[in-house]
Symmetry: none
Subunit: 217 residues, 4 copies
Amino acid sequence: MAEPSLNGAVARPRRRNAASTRRKLLIAARQEFARNGLAGARVDAIAAQAGVNKQLLYHYFGDKDAIYVAVLEWIYDEIKQYEQNLNFNGLKPDRLMKKIVGSWFDYLSLHPDFVAIMDDESRNQAVHIRGLQQLPAIGPLLLRIFSLTLAQGAREGVFRRGVNPTQLCISIGALSYFYFSGLPTLQAIFNRNLSTEPALRERRRHVVDFVMRALRP
Amino acid sequence: MAEPSLNGAVARPRRRNAASTRRKLLIAARQEFARNGLAGARVDAIAAQAGVNKQLLYHYFGDKDAIYVAVLEWIYDEIKQYEQNLNFNGLKPDRLMKKIVGSWFDYLSLHPDFVAIMDDESRNQAVHIRGLQQLPAIGPLLLRIFSLTLAQGAREGVFRRGVNPTQLCISIGALSYFYFSGLPTLQAIFNRNLSTEPALRERRRHVVDFVMRALRP
Amino acid sequence: MAEPSLNGAVARPRRRNAASTRRKLLIAARQEFARNGLAGARVDAIAAQAGVNKQLLYHYFGDKDAIYVAVLEWIYDEIKQYEQNLNFNGLKPDRLMKKIVGSWFDYLSLHPDFVAIMDDESRNQAVHIRGLQQLPAIGPLLLRIFSLTLAQGAREGVFRRGVNPTQLCISIGALSYFYFSGLPTLQAIFNRNLSTEPALRERRRHVVDFVMRALRP
Amino acid sequence: MAEPSLNGAVARPRRRNAASTRRKLLIAARQEFARNGLAGARVDAIAAQAGVNKQLLYHYFGDKDAIYVAVLEWIYDEIKQYEQNLNFNGLKPDRLMKKIVGSWFDYLSLHPDFVAIMDDESRNQAVHIRGLQQLPAIGPLLLRIFSLTLAQGAREGVFRRGVNPTQLCISIGALSYFYFSGLPTLQAIFNRNLSTEPALRERRRHVVDFVMRALRP
DNA sequence: AATGAATGAGTTTTCATTCAT
DNA sequence: TATGAATGAAAACTCATTCAT
């Protein structure tokens, strides 16, 4: 988990440190929201976990909803940062596609709280996500990447033509996301631990393979 | 929505109101749980929606958790019934696979409350689903079906060998489930209405096609 | 204080008595609102004073505002009843005017909580009073009474002509209301106890006299 | 609004900001107390409105009550100043009485916050006013003025004898004060805007006239 | 079987006030 | 002088559940 953004952080550590308190609250909130959802999360629990007075949460964020949105923003910043650290330059279409699929799997694997919070957002009709400033840019960006890669791959003969980039994008997300989101249920149904290292490797391999085969000409 | 099963109804005949009240409560509960999840659901809302006294809910089911489990059981009965009505007999492996994939999509498309409740179960670590009697049979059943179909298809040369049935099963579920589960978020990201009739048809075609291509030899 | 209206009261006393609980809550609320105003009143205090669980207040009335409105309605019913018990029939204009002025003084003298609550309403821009159904009828009714009486008195030569009934009505209210409303401040300023029996008699006499003299031809 | 007095300001010169901050706080407090009463006023709102740090309020005044008392003192100083600016010298009793009645009306008309704060004081049993140093002088001063004027008027034959100066004083206050204090309620009852310029003129004329007629021999 | 009354333990939020710099 | 951080106590309101009839 990357550090939450530190609006106005001071350099040297102090006993009374606004930035640090804010950060502690955000970290605690992220955990609490991931575990219990927006409605299920307890403001008291967040404050207690952060080790600060409950009122400070209201002081810094306004109300429960507002700190929830702050967590969402933090998460989206984190994703952006994650993507910027991936180096996709100069990759051929098939290598690039593999890397995207794999990196999505890896991200979700490493960030169960992201999955949990997204699930909750969906149940709430994505009302909070819709308010994020970063949001409108994401869809077009994804579509551009997949369109270009698919087209390039088609020219090079590694991908078939006629793949709908939106559907592909959703499918790639689905294959990884559903695995983590539905983990408890899947484990109950298949009576298997699906979160062991080998199980994760197996799933990752399957997902990448599944997508690449589906894209063959 | 099929009639809720009346598990726990007493054997000897009473005034038929008892069964009717129980059913009304279950219907209302299913709606409420789908909309708000287990934690978010309100016992008052269920009773009000059912048009009966709140205490009757406790009389018939014991507590909130118990009626939730009753709803889960009802849903699983419904699925079983849905599957039994599908006629898979005599289908060739590729036709069969297509039919399975399509029918899963259709089921989820028609039962948004199932999706909602499953999502909620996952967040709660599937604790309630784990208690269902029907559950242990489902995984093995699914695996048997997919194993047989894959093997048969491989023999006939329409499917490649080496496909993991568990992974395939999860992937087929993922491609449809995630679409409905993440609908609000996806619509926000792609700034598109994904629940129109044409959009649903497009997604269904894509999913079936995606799976079948990924299984090609 | 008259009994609050007993929507649905049952005849014989019971341990669990909705009407009685409702009544107890209203009585306690009236006291608390009179003492502390709407904002200053404590829901806990009302429930404690009524000797019932706090939740019942929400059960019966909805929220703090709603019980406040219920108190207002009760008060207005009480006033209506008070007026209906006064017998103005067949009185000559000057006797009638004296009786009105005196009865207003008496009512305010006997209902300090009415004064307190009206004061609070004024500070809140009369927002709750404006919602009362009984309200629109009051103004016109008062004006009709004063207009008729003034006209009749003028014809009989006991009142001068040209008195504005609205202004007179406000003035009559003012002379009594202000005395009770401003009692603590007036007592502080004049360093006198103005609520003794003799002081009240003196004020009453003064008010009636003051009005009658001001109306002389 | 006149400048607030700076009671408690230190003698030796400091940065002029101190006085300015104190003044800004008082102005903001007066507004806030008038709008919301002592209990309803928010320390945060006062500080924010004054544009200074909340702690400064505590620094300069001690606590919420103390700044409230400071506002009361300011208001009383203002009234004293207002009266001193009126020139009553050499007026005949009836002219003088008219001028007093009119000037009271005018003062209340121009100082709605005075009315609001006095109302609040009354609800609080005038506890804070009682502590004011200026207070003990006011009652006797008023009584002296009215006694002298009434006596002089009686001698000159323009006023009747036997008018109780205390009662008269209260009545004159009532006729104007109640109009402004009860404005929202009166407007609701009579369904009329009573704060327009013509309405105010009409009321002023009525009040002066009413008093003078009541005092005729 | 059915109903409405009643409750206690929580949950978010507010607010005056004090602390540390 | 000035500031922002921090706090504890309390307030309105919610909710699953039990009691009495």
